[in-house]
């Protein structure tokens, strides 16, 4: 127990690392996923096909393979990466971790938002068309906002999964909660105390994030509950 109290500051900074990596990956992933999901549905074949392959690959393989491919695999292309000046980036575990998580969540979110777009009621699209909207305006004003609201519960799940999956970055030496727990545990041999504490920390964060996302859902989907509330 003393070990945990003594290492509380380290766990605090580790929590920040976990949250930071997850937040960056979720934010960039979201920004990539929205256009990709539109391309997947409405884009020309030569664009939608690569997007499909991208989502298929990243959803069909374990995240650990993706992290290893980017972090260790980039070593095989050291000269080429050196030539374009990106080698420094790929040497950093932090960068590779964020890149892998971003691509992974982008793939899952693309499919989630694709489902959302397909779930937009046809009547709303017709109404928008009748008002004279088409193309980009129709997507920007009607379809995408509605699709995000429809997909929000599934997207919440995805964010929670990513938060937990971020524990894998400890394997490539990033000092997130799991990484710090591993280090303290192997030094002090207090394996179950430290890992139980880490597990409790994750539960706390997961249900905290869940609460925030439920609040957002209530807000953006408030119009659905007008009658009942």
């Amino acid at each position: 127990m003393d070990i945990i109290i003594a290492s509380l500051p380290r766990f605090f900074s580790a929590t920040l690392v976990t949250l930071q990596i997850t937040a960056i990956a979720v934010f960039i992933g979201f920004c990539i996923a929205i256009p990709l999901s539109v391309i997947r549905i409405a884009g020309p074949k030569f664009l939608s096909w690569p997007v499909y392959l991208f989502t298929f690959y990243f959803r069909g393989t374990p995240l650990l393979v993706q992290i290893f491919l980017i972090y260790y695999g980039s070593g095989q292309f050291m000269e080429q990466l050196h030539a374009v000046g990106l080698w420094g980036l790929f040497q950093s575990p932090w960068f590779c971790a964020v890149l892998a998580l971003t691509l992974n969540t982008a793939a899952y979110s693309t499919e989630i938002f694709r489902g959302g777009i397909q779930g937009v009621p046809a009547g709303e699209i017709e109404a928008a068309r009748a008002c004279g909207m088409s193309g980009t305006l129709l997507y920007r004003r009607i379809i995408i906002p509605r699709a995000i609201r429809i997909a929000w519960p599934s997207y919440t799940n995805e964010v929670i999964f990513l938060l937990q999956a971020s524990s894998l970055v400890s394997i490539i030496t990033v000092m997130d909660i799991t990484g710090v727990a591993g280090e303290i545990a192997t030094r002090s041999f207090a394996f179950y105390e430290v890992y139980l504490f880490a597990a409790a920390l994750y539960i706390l964060i997961v249900y905290g994030v869940l609460w925030v996302f439920r609040r957002i859902e209530k807000r953006i989907n408030a119009f659905l509950h007008l009658g009942s509330a």
């Binding site: 393979v65 695999g73 095989q76 524990s167 394997i171 994750y202 539960i203 997961v206």
Partner: protein, 250 residues
Amino acid sequence: MQPASETDRQHNQNTNTKDMQLLDLEGYGPLLLQGARLTVYVGVCAMLIAVFLGLIGMWCKFSRSAFVRFLADTYTTVIRGVPELVLILLVFYGVPTLIQDVSALFGRPVFVSLDPFTAGVATIGFIYGAFSTEVFRGAYLAVPKGQIEAAQACGMGRALTFRRIVLPQMMRFALPGLGNVWMVLIKATALISVIQLPELMRSADIASRNTRKPFTFFFAASLIYLAITIVSNLVQQWAEKRAAKGIRRV
């Protein structure tokens, strides 16, 4: 006779090497395939545990006792809040040390250690048992109430109703969910490589260290995972079609 066949084989091997080079991966191809076999084996074992725990968990969630329901709810809530990696490390390193500490407390110091296979399969099965609990719960609720009432009206007890009426019907509703659980589970088995079980990921890791070609081997491993996913998908589609045979489509 003997030498002739020997040269024959040599000749055959020579003609085959060109075709095999791509699959051989500098001699590490067989290692990867062995790893893939272990991955599938680990996945199937863990899935059996998960389904078993899922049925028990579902049974508990509909229990009349509030305490049992509370236990089942705690199981699913806690497990879904903790990363798999942390649980695997907790079980593999934590459980033996916990047992050692407790036994030392009673003045009988012992040395306990778990092997990676047992620890990995048990943990993955335990985690996905929580997910299949939720799948089975949803499937149970999807069975029309009238069916259960009819069974009770025929004089069947709770257990008999479950075995004869509910279980066969709810399996159909549970299939898509169980398929999803399997897809996530087989990818989660990659984490067992962290505790040195020589499954697909670990084999790829060993091969990439020895040849210094990490990209080649991790990419090959990812393609094997992809193949497992595709085959699982086909099996799932077949199973769902088969399970829906007796259903009247309106």
